[in-house]
């Protein structure tokens, strides 16, 4: 098991390296000038050149890339100056004269726009995204499995048809429409009854009390975001469950004298879960990056919104940083899922 995890982490490293390549070169192929975005269209040429030089944007592309990798790498070579020491906060390993081989935490650079450190920006926004994605997936998984179970057990009855038709609706409704409808209905028209706000983030800044956790703000966006995965999980659970219930070992379980409850929850569900886990992990990963509409409409402070704005402004370090973090989360989720497969189904061998 441990060997498998280590191996997968090594693979993950290569995946992330690939991601860095692709995003870096893709982004530089985009038309537009980040420096102009920083200074506005009325800036003069010298100022632009000066900043371009400072950011290293005048260097050939491969050199820029090498420098970026050097900044990212935990073991890297830098000019051994006080300025760099402050910038990277490194520990010197080997002194190479002017340069030094150092160990440091990856340096994601600073935003072109706000000059804030990118790792700080990500840290600030990642929490909101993670909490939102987790909450909506928990909601979707829990209710999805329950609805799927009901549909499978009451196959071809009213309840089955209800679950299926509702889930088809849930799958086909575009999330931005659902987001607007839900926020309007529950956050505005029914506000008196629900007490839920139209918009808001996980934290609020109260002038007197400081940072306040605002969990009620989570409900509507998490619900909206969870609708589609919920519908898909319900359908998957249903079809997988129906198949498992027709297996011979379910007949064996019945012949043992177990009651329906034990048969379904113990013998069948464990066998039916694999496709569901695949779906959950896929959605979890995509919600990390794709919750932009929801974040936008509910004014939820999160990584998706931040990244989108950064792309708009050609704020290269922020985009790179956010992509990297999402890629790492993807890799980790996949690893967790593979381990889960093996714990649930002993026939799956980790190699």
């Amino acid at each position: 098991m441990l060997k498998f995890i280590l191996k997968r982490i090594a693979y993950g490293f290569f995946i992330i390296l690939g991601v860095i390549h692709v995003v870096f070169f893709l982004f530089h192929a985009l038309p537009g000038d980040p420096v102009q975005m920083m200074l506005g269209s009325r800036s003069d040429k010298e100022a632009r050149e000066a900043i371009r030089h400072e950011l290293g944007l005048d260097l050939p592309l491969y050199e820029q890339f090498a420098k970026y990798l050097n900044d990212l790498s935990p073991i890297s070579i830098h000019h051994d100056t006080e300025k760099n020491q402050e910038k990277y906060a490194y520990q010197k390993l080997v002194d190479l004269g002017h340069h030094a081989l150092v160990v440091k935490s990856p340096y994601l650079r600073r935003s072109f726009q706000s000059n804030q450190r990118v790792d700080e920006i990500i840290l600030e926004n990642l929490e909101g995204t993670l909490v939102l994605a987790l909450a909506s997936m928990l909601f979707a998984t829990f209710f999805g499995i329950i609805f799927g179970l009901i549909a499978a057990l009451k196959q071809n009855t009213f309840w089955d048809h209800l679950v299926i038709s509702t889930s088809v609706m849930g799958i086909s409704a575009p999330s931005f429409v659902m987001a607007i409808v839900i926020s309007m209905v529950f956050g505005y028209y029914l506000h008196e009854y629900t007490g839920l706000p139209l918009t808001g983030s996980l934290w609020s800044n109260d002038p007197l009390l400081g940072r306040q956790l605002q969990l009620q703000n989570l409900i509507l966006p998490a619900f909206t975001l969870g609708i589609r995965p919920l519908a898909i999980i319900a359908q998957l659970t249903r079809s997988s469950m129906i198949e498992v219930l027709s297996q011979d070992y379910i007949r064996t379980a019945k012949a043992k004298g177990l009651n329906k409850f034990a048969i379904v929850l113990k013998h069948a569900l464990k066998n039916a879960l694999n496709p569901v886990i695949t779906a959950v992990s896929g959605w979890m990963a995509s919600l990390m990056a794709g919750a932009f509409f929801i974040e936008y409409i509910f004014h939820w402070k999160g990584l998706g919104l931040k990244t989108l704005k950064a792309v708009e402004m050609l704020d290269f370090p922020v985009v790179m940083g956010a992509t990297l973090v999402v890629a790492i989360v993807f890799v980790l989720i996949n690893l967790v899922v593979d381990v889960l497969y093996a714990t649930i189904d002993p026939r799956v061998r980790l190699t």
Binding site: R251, T252, K270, N271, P346
Partner: protein, 624 residues
Amino acid sequence: MAKHFETLFKSKEEKEIILSVKNLTIEFSSDEGSVYAVNNVSFDLYKGETLGIVGESGSGKSVTSMSLLRLIQEPPGKIKHGEIIFHSKKFGKIDLLNISRKQIRSIRGDEIAMIFQEPMSSLNPVFTCGNQVMETLMLHQKLKRKAAKENTLELFERVKIPNPVETFAKYPHQLSGGQMQRVMIAMALACKPSILIADEPTTALDVTVQARILEILQELRHDRETATVFITHDLGVVAEIADKVMVMYKGNVVESGTVLDIFDKPQHPYTKGLLACRPRLDLKLNVLPTVGDFMQTDKEGYITSISNAKFKSVGEALLNNYQVENEHRAEVAEKMKSAPILEIKNLSTEYMQSKGIFKKKVNITRAVNDVSFEVYPGETLGLVGSSGCGKTTLGRSILRLIEPCNGAIIFEGQNIMQFSQRQLRSLRKDIQIIFQDPYASLNPRISIGEAIVEPMRVHKLYDNDNERKEKAIELLELVNLSATFYHRYPHEFSGGQRQRVCIARALALNPKFIICDESVSALDVSVQAQVLNLLNRLKAKFNLTFIFISHDLAVVKFISDRILVMNKGKIEEIDYSEDIYNKPKSIYTRELIASIPKGNIDDIRKAMMRRKLRDKNKGNRLSA
């Protein structure tokens, strides 16, 4: 002697009745209408007795057994009427069809337990074997985990599982089929049921394993006086284990009686047909009698006429098809005078498991290990051995469907091992293969006519599709299927019909050589007889050469001129079919022959004597 047996059964009568089924009728409805899967079936089961229910697929034998525990899916199934009176220890005399769900649940697995056909799919893959047996104990006997575990280990020992402690923690997929079935038996016997229902418990297993499982069942029955309902399509197995036999056909009981009566004096033509169509080890037959020789049926298989049947008794049928051994031997010897059509020299095929990043080759399994033999034109070479002996790998290696690692395969003077991919493709025209599962080897979305035309098109046989279609229709008729079937799809056909389609498809390319890989193993005995006869007829008509691979020595012996016995990748022996049976040289072959249920009267008598003797001994022990 006869008197002795009468008293034997008299004494049975006095025994306690434990279960009696009266006028049970079960209907299955679908969009196309409804059928009576079980029609007015009645029988009694006595304490400690084994009742064999025999029938082919669709006979209603499994439905009957499932209904005893109310395990039939409703819908589509529905119990129309009838009663199943069970003498329960807990509830007294009850009708199983008329008790609450809670009551039936407390009977399932406790007083009536069941073993199923496919141990591989009947055990839950995600729980350990021990866990699944413990579950029953904890459920019905309210044992705590520790006590349940101890009991389970005891049960494992009882059913002769080697290393009970290890097996306890293993998952089903880590065990062999025989071991899994032992776990199933342990599970069924956990609560000492008064009735054990065994639904084809040995059908999916090798003969040698089957023999051991049957032995275990016999012993357990004697130790515990468990009444057993044993369902099977194999009359040979029934002969070994049953006291009474009930023969079912199309939902009806056509005949029932003691095992001796059924085998010695079968009354119903269907029973006679079933008895006659089993390939025999002791006689050499030209053609296998089929059920159709004893009775005529309509399209749905209902019996229409028995008056103008070809044969009236089993003996007559055998006599009419009997072949003198020496004649046959002379024929084979004649064939062996010509040059071999296929020569295998020192062929080996290995399976490898790779490990690590650099794909180090470890765990080499030699599935075929240095095998050499010849096949002569016009003969059928039988290839027999238990599962895992390498016979299928050998069959596929000959066609290089699995790449052998060394040796030579010389077909008509050319070494196939040196063929390029293109040469191999054109070779497949001359050598065809018919697989085991006719359900899986036909594409469900291609009509059977198209399935036969396709290989002709691929190998550019005939000028245009019209000619190919004509040829396909001709082939369909050759394998006794109607030309009107051309546009139909595989799901509309039964297993036997599908296998005929597969045969027609193999013949489409006018091959010289056909490899049959367990081609009749998935078929009912009566259908198997028809397909075997068909293969023999085609062999004579087109002068084909066959390699016939099967685990069933009786089938191989019927169809083959010579037999090659394989064990653990090596050839045990190769000889004339008759000699293999009459004068087996290797220990392995002898074991193989010994474990085949023969179903002849003497063996049945012996088995009954043994049982009687044990009962007596046990009685003495008890009284002492």
